[in-house]
Every structure is written in structure tokens, then in C-alpha cells.
């Protein structure tokens, strides 16, 4: 076994332990700054993942094939580390609202990151389950971290119970798969899965695994938890949930659907199309009457899961011939990371002293802080998918992959799905621009005091904005990386 594949994972786990132990040695008023230690280490790791010769550029498997290092895993590891860096910045800003144990909060974020890194490399069902539980159980704690807020605890209980339910389905599904085929490894399963295409127990098993992953990405009909949990959780947790946890779900979904059971996936294209379409419509329609910002972002995140499923549909339809859909998913996730982080940063900074996180709390933001107002506007415009921002190009690629599939196969279902996605985009513009309107054109603004921003907040927001514009204006670098990573999914 070549343990050098696990360099990133080992470093991240060590960082988590260091942050936890540091709690004993660092003065209480300085604990806030431990986040910057984490950021520094993670930035170093991100740099190593790009430049470190022989550390991240060598591909192969470990742990008897249950852990795989390939371009897809590497792409997602970079993604998760970047997400954790931005979340730590946000957590540092948020630290004054967490009564006790801020260093534990940081270390839990880092442990969740470790789970995501393992998820990116999972190549059998055992690793899949362990990594997903590492993420989910950490998140139960992260969601409940504002112990003085009842909504935070309520959200944690809901997440815990529904999460346990979905895990139960998933582990049952894994048991069924193992029981019917005797295989847990994705690659080995792929060789035999064609013999079980009529075996209903096997199909039920795969479906139950999808239920568990569908829960992670909040796709219809497993989306029901998202708004309540997004609303109640501390804002940095919500942001990490929206970006990291969702992406972890997607990397596992990609591996299971297109590496472990590709033939089954092809049969299920119709199911995926339906799920994708309904998820888009559900998220966007429910967001329309929503007034609470974080709840609105919860619904918005459901709709984005639907958009991302477009890429899965395109991949499923092409039967491994074209990986454009996969590349589109990766690109979209990258844009989504920067956009969502920018949006949640603004929510966290503006709603600092307000108990409620209502849209009306943004009133007069353009006078209180033009920078935050512009950031929120750009984030919303990007989420709505308007050029020249990241969200536009991601949506363009996803829709293009689906329409190309329609043109290739001649099935109308693809065109209908593209139409539904476009209708969803139109609906979403209404509520995203409702937020922009609240910022600039609200009549009554209760509070017009200027908002002071720390250096860290400014820096992380500027970073997110740069990312949004970079992906929107200069798509090629990221597109090449995404194409490279998505090649793993083809045959």
C-alpha cells in the first residue's frame, strides 16, 4: 500500500487534532484566531495539491482498492479544501456568536473536511459509508453549535433523525448489494453488475444507496429537511452544508452511478430526468414566497441540486461516450462554491445583531456598506445565471450537455428537461432579484449604521468575488481541469 496517496487526509486530520488540543493552551480571547492557523495550513495543502510532485500527481489505489486517487478525486479534494478555507474565514467572523468551544467548532469543520476528502477517494461501499457518516455526524454537531438558540437545536434534531433514516436506507441498500453480488468494490461490481440487471433485490439495493445520496444533495423527494436545517444552523455551517456536503454527495453519486453500476444507470435515465426536473421546480417554486434569507437559500440550494442533476442525466444518457455532463457538474460546483460563500458571508455579516434573518434586514445595505451590497448583488445575479458571472457559464454547460444528448438520441425528454430548467431559471430570477431590490430600493430602513468589516472578511469576500468573475470571464482553465477530471467517468 502506498500511503503517500493519503498525504492530504493525514495532514487534515492532524490539523483537526492540533486545533482541538490548542484549546488547552490558547487564551480564550485569542481562540478566534486559531481559524487563521487552519486557513494557513489548508492553503499550504491546496498549494501542495497543485505543485507537489509525486504527492498528488501520482494516481493509484490503496487499502486493497477501497481508496482511489485519480483526477476526479483530486479535483474534488482541491474543491473541498478551498471550501473549508472560505468557511473558516466565515467562522472566524462568526465566532462572537458562538458562546463556547470555538476551537472545537474549527476542528469539527476540519474533521468534516477530512470526511469529504475520503469521500472524494471512496472506491467501495464501505469507504463510501464510513466517509459519509464522518461528514454527517460531524455536521450534526456543527448544526447544533449555537446552543443558546432553540432553532439551532431544533434543526440539529431534525437533521439527526432524518439523517439517521437515510443512513439506514443506505446501509440496508449496501447490504442488499453485497448480498446479491458479493462485491463491495466499485470496479469489481462494474464487471458483474450486468448479470444482475433483472435482480430486483440488487436494484432495490442500488436504489437505497441513491436514497442516501439523494438525501445528502437534497434532491426531490429527499429534500424535505433542507430548508429547516439551513435556517436553523449557524451560518458558517449552513454555508459548508450547501457547498461541501452537497459536493460530497455528488462525487459519490458520480462514482456509484457511472463507475460501479453504469448499466443500471442507463436504465434509470428516465427516473433521473424526472428527479432533476421536479427538484428544479420544487426548489424554485417554494423559494418564491420565502422571506427568511437562509431558508430561501435552502430552497435555492435544492434547485441547484436539480440543475446539477442535469449533468448526471446527460452522463447517464450518453452511456460513457461523452463526459461533458460530468465536466459541467464540476464547473458548476466550482462556481457555486464562490457564489454561495459570497452570499452567506454577507448574510452572516449583516444579520449580526438581528435575531431574525429576514430579507428586510438587507434594507439600506447599499448605504451601510456599498461593498457588501455589491457582493450580495453579484452573488444573486450569478446564482440566477446571468452573464458574465460564474453561474451563467455553469448553467450554460449543463444545459448544453443535456441538449446535446437530446440532439444525439432524439428523445424529447431531454428537451423537456432543458425547458423545465430554463423555466426554473426564469422563476429564480424573481426571488433573487427580490433580494437585490430589498438592498437598493427598500423604502424603510430601520438601521443605517455603517457596517465595519474586518480584514479577514474583506479578503475572503474579495476572493469569492474574484472567483465568480474569473469563472465567468475566463472559463478555460477551470474547464480544462473539469474535463480532465471528468474523463474518469467515461469509458
Amino acid at each position: 500500500m502506498n500511503s503517500s496517496f493519503l498525504t492530504l487526509e493525514f495532514c487534515v486530520i492532524a490539523l483537526g487534532i492540533v486545533l482541538m488540543l490548542a484549546d488547552f493552551f490558547v487564551l480564550p480571547e485569542r481562540k478566534k484566531y486559531l481559524a487563521y492557523l487552519g486557513i494557513a495550513v489548508l492553503t499550504g495543502l491546496l498549494a501542495i495539491s497543485f505543485t507537489g510532485d509525486g504527492i498528488c500527481s501520482v494516481f493509484g489505489t490503496a487499502f486493497h482498492g477501497s481508496f482511489i486517487e485519480d483526477p476526479l478525486a483530486l479535483f474534488f479534494k482541491r474543491f473541498f479544501i478551498a471550501a473549508a478555507i472560505l468557511v473558516l474565514f466565515l467562522a472566524a467572523e462568526f465566532s462572537d456568536r458562538i458562546i463556547a468551544g470555538i476551537s472545537e467548532y474549527y476542528s469539527l469543520i476540519v474533521f468534516a473536511l477530512a470526511g469529504m476528502l475520503f469521500a472524494a477517494s471512496a472506491d467501495d461501499f464501505a469507504m463510501l459509508f464510513v466517509s459519509i457518516e464522518l461528514i454527517t455526524i460531524t455536521f450534526y454537531v456543527l448544526v447544533s453549535f449555537q446552543k443558546n438558540r432553540l432553532v439551532s437545536l431544533e434543526a440539529a434534531i431534525k437533521y439527526l433523525i432524518l439523517g439517521a433514516l437515510s443512513s439506514a436506507f443506505m446501509v440496508f441498500g449496501i447490504a442488499l448489494i453485497w448480498g446479491t453480488t458479493g462485491k463491495l468494490n466499485f470496479g469489481e461490481l462494474a464487471q458483474v453488475s450486468s448479470q444482475f440487471l433483472d435482480n430486483k433485490l440488487f436494484l432495490t439495493g442500488v436504489l437505497f444507496v441513491l436514497v442516501g445520496l439523494g438525501f445528502k444533495i437534497a434532491a426531490f423527494p429527499f429534500q424535505i429537511w433542507a430548508p429547516d436545517v439551513y435556517q436553523g444552523a449557524p451560518t458558517p455551517t449552513t454555508a459548508f452544508l450547501a457547498v461541501g456536503s452537497k459536493a460530497a454527495g455528488f462525487v459519490l453519486l458520480l462514482r456509484v452511478l457511472f463507475i460501479a453500476v453504469p448499466q443500471v444507470t442507463q436504465q434509470w435515465t428516465c427516473l433521473l430526468i424526472t428527479m432533476s426536473g421536479i427538484t428544479i421546480l420544487y426548489g424554485n417554486l417554494c423559494a418564491l414566497p420565502q422571506r427568511n434569507l437562509k431558508r430561501l437559500m435552502g430552497y435555492s440550494s435544492i434547485s441547484h441540486a436539480g440543475y446539477l442533476l442535469l449533468g448526471i442525466v446527460a452522463l447517464a444518457g450518453s452511456a460513457g461516450k461523452s463526459t461533458d455532463g460530468g465536466a459541467a457538474i464540476l464547473y458548476y460546483l466550482a462556481g457555486y462554491l464562490f457564489t454561495v460563500m459570497a452570499g452567506f458571508s454577507v448574510i452572516a455579516l449583516v444579520a449580526r445583531h438581528l435575531a431574525d434573518e429576514d430579507i428586510s434586514s438587507l434594507a439600506g445595505l447599499n448605504q451601510r456598506s456599498p461593498f457588501l451590497a455589491a457582493t450580495m448583488t453579484i452573488a444573486m445575479v450569478s446564482l440566477a445565471g446571468i452573464p458574465p458571472l460564474a453561474g451563467f457559464f455553469g448553467k450554460f454547460l449543463l444545459l448544453k450537455s443535456v441538449i446535446a444528448q437530446g440532439a444525439l438520441t432524439g428523445h424529447h425528454a431531454y428537451y423537456w428537461l432543458a425547458f423545465v430548467a430554463l423555466a426554473g431559471v426564469v422563476i429564480s430570477i424573481y426571488y433573487y432579484f427580490g433580494i437585490v431590490r430589498a438592498i437598493y430600493w427598500s423604502k424603510e430602513a430601520a438601521d443605517l449604521s455603517p457596517i465595519q468589516l474586518s480584514g479577514g472578511a474583506k479578503f475572503s469576500i474579495a476572493l469569492s468575488l474574484a472567483g465568480i468573475f474569473w469563472l465567468g470571464l475566463f472559463p478555460n482553465t477551470m474547464l480544462n481541469l473539469a474535463n480532465e477530471a471528468a474523463k474518469v467517468l467515461g469509458n
Binding site: K158, T204, F222, P289
Partner: protein, 636 residues
């Protein structure tokens, strides 16, 4: 190629300047103007350094892939399968043509920037003005350096936007706002054709890169140049030039655009924006076939004549110069149509010098006259404004084509081109226009600088400050000598491979090679000047209307083009817009949107009821979802 970074710097410094001014220094007039001037002057210095290191004939391209959609390789024009991919580069094309244009835009533009520092001194929005100037310079440099159609189109539109901002700079004046809109919309009409032309080219040939297109044309010239679709593409692309270079029938915006501050008139309407059309035609000359060129030549000739006739009876000092610009642009377009790219670009270059000079000198007169622009309120300014007087005279002589001033050489090369192509009709038009040009130019000259003071302002006029007169003098020097300092060599080597480099003396004597057009050119110019002298030497009012009657009224009213457009196109457009508006308001918004929006809203509210917040319900819905999916997959 040395200094590869320089062209990128030249292009992006003005953008940086515009951004910095807009974001940080809008409150300080001085800092903002210095940043903007610094950016364009630095661009000029870098251009000179780049040329002195590499010479004019680098023939290089530096490009970065900006975006590719679809397949990596672009489609070969002769293959039968569909269009497979679009690759868009952001690249810079560096050859004699673009380098000369760089010199003109940064050089003449730089002088105009400096001049603006004094001219706009009293304006409260000076910082905003310089931000716009920088944005404009960036856009214009982008057109010049583009190596492909799409990039050029983007900068083409940026020039449209920034000229809109500059023409409408004094937006408090309704006439300025209207003029800005007119310029923008008229340009958009032309640009629509330009875009269609670009799409046609891409659809037929599968590439947008100038170099690639040129080699495709070189390899398949016989089949391609005789194809009807290429004629159409060429004419559509020419539409873009018709808009930007203000050719008939889209010439109406240019004179109104004089509502902008005078430096803007000099920058946009002499040295840069209107030159973009001619430059573009020369850049893509290889894809214009004989039919397209024929149309181009006659449109150019007609515009030249039309504008010269209108200029004879205008009384606003800036409008006269504006119409002369139109007329000279007609010359250049005509020259392109007659296969004379060298002559066209030569005239474009000398014209940039003497027309910028005339505009800036007119601006100096306007400043001295406290913003009075009617020439019949001026008079006898030669003693009060001596530097302006001398420099204006040099500009006027160059414009009229009197040897040895620059305009004489470039105009003569256009005349020679007419005869070489044996197009005697267009030669006649060109000669007539030359006579008219000399006449109206010196009409303006005599009325403004000679005779009696015709108002109080004229009696108290004074010479402008050094910041204004120094750019005048520099431009005057180039307007005088621009005809024989090698300009023609650089263009000649670009367009005609067997071009031999002329020495200084050869350039000086070049017109003698073709004595017929030279003599005719000089003769008509002298006749024009003599007529202007005898009619306007001491005139207090214009005696021409009485003699010419209806013709004079028609000229004065610009042959009623604005009125005709108003009565036909604009009226029709307004009617269609009103109908569409009614459909939109009542049918779409009231009926269809009402139903869709109401339905969407209702379904949103309905779905929201699912989210009860009750955990048991959630768990139930979750399991129901699982059952649903199971049924969907296995139930059939």
C-alpha cells in the same frame, strides 16, 4: 519579437486608468486627468519603443485562448459536416497597419488628452470626462489590435458605448442627450449588419481569425471570391463601416455629435472612431470581392460629394468641420473601393493630423469667443489669436490639398488611384469635391479670421493658454510635413508585397509621376480658395443664399435627410413600437403573464404547506418518497 508585453500594456493601461478614476479618484480633477493623460502618453512611448525595437514589419500575433465551445479544432470551410466548434481567442495582431494606427491613436489622442486638460478646466465633471476618454481610448486600441472578428466586434461596440458617453457628456443639455442617442442608435443599425456579416463568415468558413481567414482566401481565391455569399458577407461587413465611418445613408449622426465637448469632436470625429470603419475595411480587405468593392467605391464617392455640398452652407464652426470630415471619410472609403488601401490609410493618417488640428483650433476659437460657435458672430480674429490663426491656416491648406502640405500628397494618391482604375466618373466627383472642400474651408477661414468683428465677443477675444496652443503647434507641424515622412512606405509594404521603399526626395516628388491628377487637384483647390476669397473677404453676411436660391436652402438643411428619416423610418418605427407596446401591455402582461405568474405564485404557496416543520411529517414524506421512487423503478 522583443518587448512582447508592451502591446498588452498599451491596450490595458487606459482601461486601468478608467477603472482607477471611476473607483477611486473621481473627487480630484487634477489627479484624474493626470492619470488619464499618463496612460495614453505611456502608451505612445511604449509604442515608439516597441517599433524602434522591432521595426514596423513584425507581422506577429500574440493570442490567448479565451473560450472554446465544442470541438477543439475549428471547422474546415470545405468539409461537409456541420459546424463543430467555436474557438474564441483574445489576441493582438501586430503589423505595419496596426502599429501605424497605434501611433495615431496614442499620439494624436495623447495631444487631445493634454489639450482637454485646459479645455475642460472649468467643468465640474472633469474627472468623469477623463474616465470616459480613457475608456474610449481603450476601446479604440482594442479595435486596432484585434486579431479576430469577434474580439473586434466587442471593442467596436465598446467604442459605440464610450462615444455615447462622451457625446452626451453635457447630459444637462437636451440636444446633447439626443445627439448621443442618435449616434448610438445609428451606429447600432450599422453594427447589426456587421454582426450578420461576421456570422455569415463564420457560418461559411468556420473561422473568425483574420490570419486564418486570409490563408483560406489565399488558398481558394477563385472559388471564394466569385461566390455570392461572400459578396453578401462583404457588404454586411461594410455596413459596420457605414455606421462607424458615417457613410451615406447612416451619415446623419456625425454632425449632431458635435454637441459633445470640442476635444471629443477632435478625438472621435477626426482621429479615431470614424477612422475605425476605414481601418476595418483595410484589415479585412482580402474578403471583399469586386462586386462588394464596386458598391463601396460609389457609396464613398457619393458621401464625399453630399457632405461637401452641405458644408458649403453651414454656419456653425464645428459643423462645417464635421461635414468636411464626412466628406474626407467618403474619399477614404472610395479609395478602399478602388483597391487603394494604401491611399486610403495614407489619407486617414494625414487627415488625423490636420483634422484634429482644425477641431482643436476651432475649440481654441470657441474658448476665445466664450462658447460662441456661429462664424457670422466672429471676424478679424487673426490679430487677437495669432497662434490659432497660423495653425488653423496650416490645417486649412492641408485639408484643401495645397502642396507641400500633407493633405496634398494623400489626396493626390487617391486621385491617382481613380485614374489607375480608369474610373473617370469617380475621378470627376473627387475633383469636384476637392474644389468644394477648398471653397468651404476658406469661407470659414476668411469669415472667422478676416473682415470686421461681427460681435462684442469677437472684439474681446484673446489667445488661449499654452496647454492649448502647444498641441496645436505639434499637430500643425505634422499636418505640414505628414505627406513625406514615410507614412506611405509603411502602408505600402503592408498592402503591396512588391512595394519599394521611397526615399525622402522620392516621396516629395511622388505626385509628379502622375502629373494629370496633380495639376487638376491643385487647380481646383486654387479656384476654390480664390472664389472663397473674392466672396467672403469682407462679407458681413453670406451672399450665397441670394445667388443659389433653393439649392442653398437645401444645403443648409442638409438636404432634408433628418426630416425624411423622421417622416419615414422613425414614424414607421414609432407606429410598430406602439402596436407592440399595446400587445405587450394588454395581451402578454395582462392575460398570459397574469395567468402564469399567478399560477406560479399559487403553486409556490401551496408547496410551502408541505414544509410543516413537523418532524414526523418529514419522516413520513421521506419514506413516501422512497416508496415513490421504488414504484417508479420496479413497479412496472
Amino acid at each position: 519579437m522583443k518587448h512582447e508585453l508592451f502591446p498588452w500594456l498599451i491596450l490595458f493601461l487606459p482601461l486601468l486608468s478608467a477603472t482607477v478614476i471611476a473607483l477611486f479618484t473621481l473627487r480630484s480633477k487634477t489627479i484624474s486627468s493626470l492619470i488619464s493623460i499618463g496612460a495614453v502618453v505611456a502608451g505612445f512611448v511604449l509604442t515608439v519603443l516597441f517599433i524602434s525595437a522591432n521595426g514596423f514589419h513584425v507581422n506577429a500575433e500574440t493570442s490567448k485562448n479565451w473560450l472554446s465551445i465544442g470541438a477543439e479544432t475549428s471547422k474546415n470551410w470545405s468539409s461537409t459536416d456541420g459546424i463543430t466548434g467555436l474557438q474564441v481567442d483574445f489576441g493582438l495582431k501586430l503589423d505595419a497597419l496596426s502599429l501605424m494606427m497605434l501611433l495615431i491613436v496614442t499620439g494624436v489622442g495623447g495631444l487631445i488628452h493634454i489639450y482637454s486638460y485646459a479645455y475642460m478646466d472649468e467643468d465640474d465633471s472633469k474627472a468623469r470626462f477623463f474616465a470616459f476618454l480613457s475608456l474610449f481610448t481603450f476601446s479604440m486600441l482594442g479595435i486596432v489590435l484585434s486579431n479576430n472578428f469577434l474580439q473586434m466586434f466587442i471593442f467596436w461596440e465598446l467604442v459605440g458605448v464610450s462615444s455615447y458617453l462622451l457625446i452626451g457628456f453635457w447630459y444637462g443639455k437636451p440636444s446633447a442627450g439626443d445627439a448621443a442617442k442618435k449616434a448610438f442608435i445609428t451606429n447600432r443599425l450599422g453594427d447589426f449588419g456587421f454582426l450578420l456579416g461576421i456570422l455569415t463568415i463564420w457560418g461559411v468558413l468556420g473561422s473568425l481569425n483574420f490570419g486564418e481567414l486570409q490563408s483560406i482566401f489565399a488558398a481558394h481565391s477563385a472559388t471564394l471570391l466569385s461566390a455570392g455569399v461572400i459578396t453578401i458577407a462583404g457588404l454586411l461587413i461594410f455596413c459596420g463601416a457605414v455606421g462607424k465611418s458615417a457613410q451615406f445613408p447612416l451619415h446623419v449622426w456625425l454632425a449632431d455629435a458635435m454637441e459633445g465637448p470640442t476635444p471629443v469632436s477632435a478625438l472621435i470625429h477626426a482621429a479615431t472612431m470614424v477612422a475605425a470603419g476605414v481601418y476595418m475595411l483595410c484589415r479585412v480587405f482580402f474578403l471583399l470581392n469586386a462586386d462588394a468593392l464596386h458598391v463601396i467605391a460609389y457609396i464613398g464617392g457619393f458621401t464625399a460629394l453630399l457632405a461637401a455640398l452641405i458644408a458649403v452652407q453651414q454656419n456653425d464652426i464645428k459643423r462645417i468641420i464635421a461635414y468636411s470630415t464626412l466628406s474626407q471619410l467618403g474619399y477614404m472609403v472610395m479609395a478602399v473601393g478602388l483597391n487603394g488601401q494604401t491611399a486610403a490609410m495614407f489619407h486617414l493618417t494625414t487627415h488625423a493630423f490636420f483634422k484634429a488640428l482644425l477641431f482643436l483650433a476651432a475649440g481654441s476659437v470657441i474658448l476665445g469667443m466664450h462658447h460662441e460657435q456661429d462664424i457670422w458672430h466672429m471676424g478679424n480674429l487673426r490679430k487677437k489669436m495669432p497662434i490659432t490663426f497660423i495653425t488653423f491656416l496650416i490645417g486649412a491648406l492641408a485639408l484643401s490639398g495645397i502642396p507641400p502640405f500633407s493633405g496634398f500628397y494623400s489626396k493626390d494618391s487617391i486621385f491617382a488611384q481613380c485614374l489607375e482604375q480608369k474610373n473617370y466618373l469617380l475621378f470627376g466627383v473627387a475633383a469636384l469635391v476637392a474644389g468644394l472642400t477648398a471653397f468651404y474651408t476658406f469661407r470659414l477661414f476668411f469669415v472667422v479670421f478676416f473682415g470686421k468683428e461681427k460681435s462684442d465677443h469677437a472684439k474681446h477675444a484673446h489667445e488661449s493658454s499654452l496647454v492649448i496652443t502647444v498641441p496645436l503647434v505639434v499637430l500643425a507641424v505634422f499636418a505640414a510635413i505628414g505627406g513625406f515622412i514615410g507614412v506611405v512606405n509603411y502602408y505600402g509594404s503592408q498592402f503591396t508585397p512588391d512595394h519599394e521603399t521611397l526615399t525622402f526626395v522620392q516621396q516629395l516628388m511622388e505626385p509628379l509621376k502622375t502629373p494629370v491628377p496633380m495639376c487638376i487637384g491643385i487647380a481646383v483647390a486654387l479656384i476654390g480658395i480664390f472664389l472663397a476669397f473674392s466672396i467672403y473677404k469682407n462679407a458681413d453676411t453670406d451672399p450665397l443664399p441670394a445667388k443659389l436660391g433653393v439649392l442653398s436652402t437645401a444645403m443648409k438643411n442638409r438636404f432634408y435627410f433628418d426630416e425624411i428619416y423622421e417622416a419615414t423610418f422613425i414614424r414607421a418605427h414609432d407606429t410598430i413600437a406602439a402596436i407592440c407596446g399595446a400587445i405587450d401591455r394588454f395581451l402578454l402582461e395582462g392575460f398570459i403573464i397574469g395567468i402564469i405568474r399567478g399560477g406560479t405564485d399559487l403553486s409556490g404557496r401551496g408547496l410551502r404547506l408541505l414544509q410543516t416543520g413537523n418532524l414526523q411529517t418529514y419522516a413520513f414524506l421521506f419514506v413516501l418518497g422512497v416508496a415513490l421512487v421504488l414504484y417508479f423503478v420496479l413497479g412496472k
